[in-house]
C-alpha cells in the first residue's frame, strides 16, 4: 500500500510541476505582450526604444506553452478528438483500441523528441533575430519545449497504458462519458 501512496504522491508532484510551469509561462506571455504594447504607446517615448526583445520573448513563450500545455492537455485527456464510432463499441474493444492508440501517440512523440534534440544541439550557436549578444535568445531554446514537453506527453501516455492494463474503467468512462446523457 505504501508504494502506491508514494507513486500517487510522485504523480501529483509531477502533475503539479508541469501545470505550474505551463501556467507561469502563460501568464508571463500575457504580461510580456502587455509590456510590449505599453512600451510602444507610453513608455517608448521615455525609454527611446520599444523593447524589441518583447516580440521574440512572447513568441518563444508561445512555443513553450504549446508543448508544455500539450502535456497538460494529455494529462486531462483534452486533446480534440472526434467521437464517431468508439463509444458504441464494447468495453473490451475500447480497451484494446485505447491501448493501441496510446502506443501510436508514444511512437509519434518519440519521433518528435528524437528530431528536436539534435536540432537543439545544432541551433545552440544561432542568435534569434541576429541577437548573438543575448544568449537566452538563441534558436536552440525553441527546441527545449519540444524535447521536455514531448517527454512529459510520453510519460502521460505511459500512465494511460498502465491504466488500460490495471484500471481500464477510468479511461473507458472518459471516452464514453459524453454520450451517456443522450435523451
Amino acid at each position: 500500500m505504501e508504494e502506491v501512496n508514494l507513486a500517487t504522491k510522485l504523480g501529483r508532484l509531477f502533475d503539479g510541476l508541469v501545470t505550474s510551469i505551463a501556467l507561469a509561462l502563460y501568464v508571463l506571455m500575457i504580461l510580456v505582450v502587455g509590456l510590449q504594447i505599453l512600451t510602444r504607446w507610453v513608455l517608448g517615448s521615455i525609454l527611446g526604444s520599444s523593447l524589441p526583445w518583447t516580440v521574440n520573448l512572447s513568441q518563444m513563450l508561445l512555443v513553450y506553452i504549446t508543448f508544455f500545455g500539450a502535456a497538460v492537455a494529455s494529462r486531462k485527456r483534452q486533446h480534440i478528438s472526434l467521437d464517431l464510432l468508439v463509444s458504441r463499441l464494447s468495453d473490451g474493444v475500447i480497451r484494446v483500441l485505447t491501448g493501441l492508440r496510446t502506443l501510436l501517440i508514444l511512437a509519434f512523440v518519440g519521433v518528435m523528441v528524437s528530431g528536436a534534440y539534435p536540432l537543439y544541439l545544432q541551433n545552440r550557436g544561432f542568435g534569434m533575430g541576429a541577437l548573438p549578444s543575448h544568449p537566452p535568445f538563441t534558436e536552440a531554446w525553441l527546441y527545449v519545449p519540444a524535447v521536455v514537453g514531448g517527454v512529459c506527453i510520453a510519460i502521460y501516455a505511459l500512465r494511460d497504458l498502465w491504466l488500460v492494463a490495471v484500471a481500464p474503467e477510468t479511461i473507458i468512462e472518459d471516452i464514453k462519458g459524453e454520450d451517456e446523457n443522450a435523451e
Partner: protein, 328 residues
C-alpha cells in the same frame, strides 16, 4: 517578416504562397529531381528567373536534372533548415545565411557601411567570408552560389524629408528585427521600432511609427506611398538575394551537370541584377507619380553620423575594422 518566417531584411521574405507553374519532373531513368524553396512570393522576379533557369538546366542536361521552384515552405530559417535536413534540395533566400553562419561579418548587410552596391558586392567576394561559406557547407549542408542578386537600394520613407541626420532625430523609424540595425539607427539619433512587416502599413497609418526604410519596389508593392509623403534616397544598404544548393542533392549529380547548373545560374543572376537596377529608377518614378516627394540627401553627413555607432558595432561584434571594410 515577423511570424514564423524568421528575419529577412524586408517584407519580401517569408511567403507562404505556392505556384502552379511547375516544371515537368521525372522523365529519364537516372534523372535527378530537385525541389528548391524560395522565400520570395509567387510571381516575384527572382522566382520567375529561377524557373527559367530550371527549364534551361533541364534542357541543357537533357533531362538529367529537373528543378522545381516552390514558394510555400516558409521563411529563410525554415527553408535553410529543411535543406540542411535534406527534405528539400536548396533555397532562394535573403541574407539569413550571414546571420546564422557568419554573424561576425554581418557588417556586409548593415546600413551606412558601404559607398555603394559595387563595394558591397566586392565585399561578399573577399576572404572574410571563406570560413562562413565553409560552415554553411559543412554544418548547413548547402553550397552558396557565390553571385548575389541585387534587389535594390534601401532608402527611407517618412512624413518629412531626411536631408541630414538631424532631420531624423527622435523619429520613430521602423526597422527589421536586427540588433545591429537597431543600434546603428539609434546611434544616429532615430528611435528604431521593430514592427512586423505585415503590420507596417497600419502602424504607419496610425502613426505608431513615423518612418521606415525599404527598397522602392517594396514601398510601391506594399502601397506604403499611401501613408508616407517623402522618400529620402539614403542609399544606406542594398538588399540581396541568394541561392543555396543542398550538398546531398548535388552529390547525386555529375560534376559536368553541376557546372552547367551553377554557370547558367550565375549568368541568370547577373542579368536579373542589371534588370532590377534598371527598373529601380522606374519604381522611384512610379512613387513620384503616386505623390511622394523624392529627396536627395546630404549623404556625406549621413555616413559621418553613422561612423561612431558603426565603430562600436565593428569593435564589439564584428571581425574586421571599419577602415578595412571601407577600403574593399
Amino acid at each position: 517578416m515577423g511570424g514564423g518566417s524568421g528575419s529577412g531584411t524586408d517584407g519580401t521574405t517569408g511567403s507562404d504562397d505556392s505556384d502552379t507553374d511547375t516544371t515537368e519532373s521525372g522523365g529519364g531513368g537516372q534523372s535527378q529531381s530537385l525541389i528548391i524553396g524560395s522565400v520570395f512570393p509567387s510571381g516575384h522576379v527572382i522566382n520567375e528567373m529561377a524557373k527559367e533557369w530550371a527549364s534551361s538546366v533541364e534542357a541543357e542536361t537533357e533531362g538529367r536534372v529537373a528543378i522545381t521552384i516552390e514558394e510555400s515552405f516558409g521563411g529563410e530559417k525554415e527553408v535553410m533548415e529543411q535543406t540542411q535536413i535534406g527534405s528539400i534540395d536548396g533555397t532562394i533566400i535573403g541574407t539569413r545565411w550571414v546571420i546564422d553562419y557568419d554573424p561576425k561579418n554581418f557588417w556586409v548587410e548593415s546600413p551606412f557601411v558601404f559607398e555603394g552596391w559595387e563595394q558591397q558586392r566586392r565585399a561578399f567576394q573577399t576572404e572574410f567570408f571563406d570560413d562562413g561559406r565553409q560552415r554553411l557547407r559543412e554544418q548547413g549542408k548547402q553550397m552558396l552560389v557565390n553571385e548575389p542578386v541585387y534587389r535594390g537600394y534601401r532608402h527611407t520613407t517618412g512624413n518629412k524629408a531626411f536631408e541630414t541626420p538631424e532631420d531624423i532625430q527622435g523619429t520613430n523609424l521602423r526597422v527589421p528585427d536586427l540588433t545591429p540595425w537597431v543600434n546603428i539607427w539609434s546611434g544616429i539619433g532615430a528611435s528604431p521600432t521593430t514592427v512586423a512587416f505585415d503590420e507596417l502599413y497600419s502602424a504607419l497609418q496610425q502613426g505608431v511609427v513615423d518612418a521606415q526604410e525599404n527598397p522602392a519596389e517594396t514601398v510601391r508593392s506594399s502601397s506604403l506611398y499611401e501613408v508616407q509623403d517623402y522618400y529620402t534616397l539614403t542609399k544606406h544598404l542594398a538588399s540581396t538575394g541568394w541561392f543555396t544548393l543542398g550538398t546531398q542533392a548535388l552529390s547525386n549529380i555529375s560534376d559536368e551537370d553541376q557546372t552547367t547548373m551553377v554557370d547558367s545560374l550565375t549568368s541568370s543572376i547577373q542579368e536579373l541584377s542589371s534588370s532590377i537596377a534598371e527598373s529601380e529608377s522606374q519604381a522611384i518614378e512610379a512613387l513620384k507619380e503616386q505623390g511622394m516627394n523624392v529627396v536627395e540627401p546630404d549623404r556625406d553627413a549621413w555616413l559621418e553620423a553613422a561612423k561612431e555607432p558603426l565603430q562600436t558595432q565593428f569593435e564589439e561584434n564584428w571581425e574586421p575594422s571599419l577602415e578595412e571594410v571601407r577600403n574593399i
